[in-house]
């Protein structure tokens, strides 16, 4: 049965469609794998085995009857715990939503279901996606399948671990400042943050509305392309999602990338970078050269302002987005309250974790009347400059190449200050400020842990990233996921 879990989503999809394998068999293998491994890894918060099996049976019946099925028919998929699904627990890994069950399906969930994918459960994450380690989850720790003393990264740590531990084939994460790409890098899987507005956010519990984007994590770029075909596109329920037509992303696989220009921003290659990581980056660039790509040095001059800008804007939006969690309509309600103000204070004080409270405080502060101009408004202006940096750079290059994170997965026991943790996002969050798409692809091993490269593209040009990423994967060769978690 382990064999089944080694397949890619595309391989599995084909085998199910060809009746070599049933959806029920695939699902059974997946749940067995989770049973064996998840006590150690901790990818999942909740599973929906019974419902999933029923759904798999229906897919098998349809295939047996020769009925048409979707392009992900029978493929087991995991979903980050901040995406609402009907009747399923959806907690954003916060105490304040410990008992919350979705009363509707997020658009991505709806689209996955319509494509025949089988949602197996919800993955662990940092509380409300705030963090880079998955350690701020209310429920539990997730461990890196490569080394269980290390973090899986975050906030989509459960999602990345679920792919790396071969507990499912596709996982949906969300990325506000790097929350798909960084854990993908730490866990040695592929993760894509699409262009802001390419995938509907309807049903994604908002963190920073103008930065959040849902995206896929998978074993390879082909599976990313396949998933993007399902989840991208217009949605009547999200005003910010683009009506632009969705291309067939799988058509960009195997595309020749010779002649493509790759920009390397000097601001991302600074002194003090782990020498092993630097080596892997250089090797990757050599590989692109050998594929006929042109490497050019570029500058994104406002890069150094990205971190402070991000940590003004994201908490500002978060402080407002999280205001709805108040103990009035759903979720956790403090039993100790005397009046309605007390009900707010106690429910929120008892329901939110430290990191979430910290960001709510920062956000409330930067939005308050006396400080709005100095912080929020200023940050918006700097954001425009950062976006402009990218627009200018993309006049001359097709993609931008950078590391994903300054380090490999750090120790679960590492004591880091909030600021040190925020620095983990330093290479990824500019893409969210600019709204451009990015992909993280495993490139090598440093200190026995995977290291990813990040490719950033022009708005709505995920196809270029898929083409470059897939070409790179081919020349890189197999990137075997760890087997350790099974023991």
């Amino acid at each position: 049965m382990n064999n089944i879990c080694n397949f890619t989503a595309l391989e599995l999809r084909d085998k199910i469609a060809n009746k070599e394998l049933s959806a029920v068999e695939a699902l059974t293998a997946v749940y067995e794998k989770i049973e064996k491994t998840d006590d150690l890894i901790g990818s999942f918060i909740s599973l929906r085995k019974e419902t999933a099996l029923k759904e798999a049976k229906i897919i098998d019946e349809k295939i047996a009857n020769g009925e048409e099925v979707g392009i992900l028919a029978g493929v087991p998929v995991s979903v980050k715990d901040n995406m609402v699904s009907l009747n399923d627990l959806t907690t954003s890994c916060s105490k304040i939503l410990y008992n919350y069950k979705g009363i509707y399906d997020a658009t991505v969930v709806k689209k996955l279901k319509e494509a025949g994918a089988i949602i197996i459960g919800k993955t662990n994450m940092d509380e409300f996606a705030m963090g880079g380690s998955t350690k701020t989850s209310y429920h539990k720790l997730t461990k890196n399948p490569w080394d269980t003393s290390k973090v899986p990264g975050g906030s989509s740590g459960g999602a990345a671990a679920s792919i790396a531990a071969k507990q499912c084939f596709i996982s949906l994460g969300s990325d506000t400042g790097g929350s798909i790409r960084q854990p993908a890098s730490f866990c040695g899987v592929v993760g894509m943050k699409p262009t802001y507005g390419r995938v509907s956010r309807y049903g994604l519990m908002a963190f920073g509305s103008s930065l959040d984007q849902i995206g896929p994590l998978a074993k390879n770029v082909s599976d990313i392309a396949l998933t993007m075909n399902v989840i991208a596109g217009y949605d009547d329920y999200d005003a910010t999602v683009s009506p632009k037509e969705v291309p067939d992303y799988t058509k960009s696989l195997n595309k020749d990338i010779s002649g493509m220009t790759i920009g390397v921003p000097k601001e991302y290659f600074v002194e003090g970078m782990d020498s092993k990581i630097k080596e892997i980056m250089d090797e990757a660039l050599e590989k692109f050269k050998s594929l006929g790509a042109k490497i050019v040095n570029i500058s994104l001059p406002h890069t150094k302002y990205a971190l402070p800008t991000y940590y003004v804007l994201a908490p500002a939006e978060a402080s407002s987005n999280l205001a709805r969690f108040d103990g009035i309509r759903y979720g956790y309600r403090s039993p100790n309250a005397k009046d309605y103000i007390d009900l707010y204070v106690k429910s929120r004080s008892e329901g939110f974790g430290a990191e979430v409270k910290r960001r709510i405080m920062i956000g409330t502060y930067v939005l308050s009347a006396g400080f709005y101009d100095a912080y929020f408004k200023k940050a918006q202006k700097v954001r425009a400059l950062i976006k402009n940096d990218f627009d200018k750079a993309f006049e001359n290059v097709d993609i931008i190449f950078t590391p994903v994170a300054p380090s490999t997965a750090f120790s679960l026991d590492a004591v880091k200050t909030p600021l040190e943790l925020y620095l983990e996002d330093i290479f990824t969050l500019s893409a969210n400020l600019a709204g451009v798409p990015g992909i993280s692809i495993p490139a090598g091993i440093a200190n026995d842990l995977p290291v990813g490269i990040q490719l950033l593209g022009k708005h709505f040009e995920e196809e270029t990233l898929i083409a470059a990423g897939h070409a790179f994967e081919k020349i890189r060769g197999e990137f075997n996921l760890p087997e350790g978690a099974d023991k």
Binding site: N82, M83, V84, T90, S92, L97, Y100, I103, Y104, A106, R201, Y202, G203, L204, M205, A206, G208, S209, S210, D236, Y237, D238, A239, T240, A316, E317, S319, S320, A323, R324, F325, D326, I328, R329, Y330, Y340, Y344, T364, L367, S368, A369, Y372, F376
Partner: protein, 478 residues
């Protein structure tokens, strides 16, 4: 102490739009009589992950409000979040327009005691309504049916100087908006709500500290609260005190205002641009298209009624209060060709019937065409005014057209000379005493005797004889 006090008043009016569906979702806006929380969905309940999307009809209706109030419609506008915690606010922020509203500067021309005055409108913004809290003895309940109802907030300039002006502005505002059909425009139903900003100062000096008064639930309350507040502020200052910037609430029972929030407790709403909604863009062509669907402006309509139909101002004012009534009037005139008589009939008989039966003109049983015909029948001397009233009564319950009724019920005036002569002779033969009386009477009394004879003739003809012909013949025979 000799300096004159002047009061300064600005009004903020909230208007609920009757768009059928809510501002960010497809929930119905007709929730009034329904059970609590039946017109709700993940979006208007502020459930996690749910996002707003602007209902196009809300924008159209809001633009109509803007055009009716002579506002400039901005081609681009944006939404903001106004953050505050309250149990009936599902998201704990209200989506509103703060910096760039869809409608800018406008005005209304009011008329107080025969004097025209222009009241400026600062801006109008689109926003969402909150739910409603219901407080029991031990628990409180929240009904979210009203949550995310579409509102426009109409903010006036501080151009009003008395409660009378505020009352007139509010009345004209209501009538003008009622015209557009975008709202029920009723303070009783809660579809029109008003807050007042009031300050006092000595003429020629800078404006005083402004106090906001909330919870005004009738036009009368608005006027009374303003008068109360003006007096309170003047008295406070004259007693050596000062006015605090605060929010007060009007207590209808005691007829006074009370402190609700002081400046120190004032909310910091932490406004910021709503990231979930895109900029709203409307082209001039789209605005013009909406303008074409608008009814005639109420003031223009009144002027047209005075000029074209030669109606007295009073008649025009009343007819134009209700667009349907005004339309009905115009239909009647088309048939009757007699504007003044048509207006008279509508303002007396028709309005009385509507009031007695608690119905709107649309449900009035006599069609405009039929009422026009009745009036035409009078003008053509086919029936007398008296008979016309009878015909009107019959017509309220009768499907037949007026001419048929007149014919079948033999209601037409007798204008045949021979028939009238027979009639007159019969009366004269039966009343020799009256004839004698007439001849003996002095010039002053003669008409009265004549009137008596005349009455006999009309009675004998059951009111149908042509009165002028009867008089002429009587005089001739006497």
């Amino acid at each position: 102490m000799n300096k004159k006090w002047e009061s300064v008043i600005g009004l903020e009016v909230h208007l609920q739009l009757k768009t059928g569906t809510k501002v960010w979702c497809n929930c119905s806006t007709d929730y009034d009589s329904d059970k609590p929380n039946t017109h709700t969905c993940p979006i208007c309940l502020g459930h996690p992950g749910a996002l707003p999307k602007l209902n196009k009809k809300v924008l159209e209706y809001a633009i109509k409000a803007g055009l009716a109030l002579n506002c400039k419609i901005n081609n681009e506008s944006t939404f903001d979040r106004k953050n505050y915690f309250y149990p009936d606010t599902p998201k704990n922020y209200q989506i509103t327009q703060f910096d760039n509203s869809y409608a800018g500067r406008g005005y209304l021309d009011i008329n107080v005691n025969g004097k025209e005055k222009q009241i400026g409108i600062t801006k109008i913004q689109i926003e969402e309504d909150a739910g409603k809290s219901i407080h029991g003895v031990k628990e409180s309940y929240i009904n979210f049916n009203r949550a995310s109802m579409p509102l426009v907030e109409i903010i006036s300039e501080p151009d009003m100087r008395s409660s009378e002006e505020a009352y007139e502005y509010l009345t004209l505002l209501r009538n003008t908006l009622k015209y557009t059909g975008i709202s029920d425009v009723s303070m009783e139903l809660g579809s029109l709500r008003c807050d007042a900003n009031i300050s006092v100062h000595h003429e020629g000096e800078p404006f005083g500290t402004r106090v906001e008064v909330k919870n005004l639930n009738s036009f009368k309350a608005v006027a009374r609260a303003i008068d109360y507040e003006i007096n309170r502020q003047i008295n406070t200052i004259e007693d050596g005190g000062s006015i605090d910037q605060e929010t007060r609430t009007w207590d209808d029972e005691t007829q006074i205002t009370k402190v609700m929030r002081s400046k120190e407790e004032a909310m910091d709403y932490r406004y910021f641009p709503e990231p979930d909604l895109l900029k709203v863009v409307v082209t001039d062509e789209e605005i013009e298209k909406i303008r074409e669907t608008m009814p005639e402006d109420i003031v223009a309509k009144i002027n047209r009624f005075v000029n074209d139909y030669k109606l007295p101002q009073y008649d025009a004012d009343i007819l134009c209060l209700d667009i349907e009534l005004a339309n009905y009037f115009e239909e009647v005139v088309k048939e009757s060709n007699n504007a003044k008589t048509s207006a008279n009939w509508i303002l007396t008989e028709v309005l009385k019937y509507l009031k007695d039966n608690h119905i709107e003109i649309n449900d009035f049983p006599i069609s405009a065409k039929d009422l026009g015909k009745i009036i035409e029948l009078i003008d053509k001397n086919i029936i007398s005014s008296k008979i016309a009233k009878k015909l009107f009564e019959i017509k309220l319950k009768d499907e037949r057209d007026p001419e048929t009724i007149v014919k079948e019920e033999k209601m037409a005036q007798v204008a045949d000379e021979g028939a009238i002569e027979t009639l007159v002779e019969e009366v004269l033969n039966n009343n020799p005493k009256l004839i004698e009386d007439y001849h003996n009477a002095d010039e002053g009394r003669k008409p009265r005797v004549l009137k008596g004879l005349m009455g006999q003739c009309m009675k004998l003809s059951k009111g149908k004889a042509n009165p002028k012909m009867v008089t002429d013949l009587l005089l001739k025979k006497l």
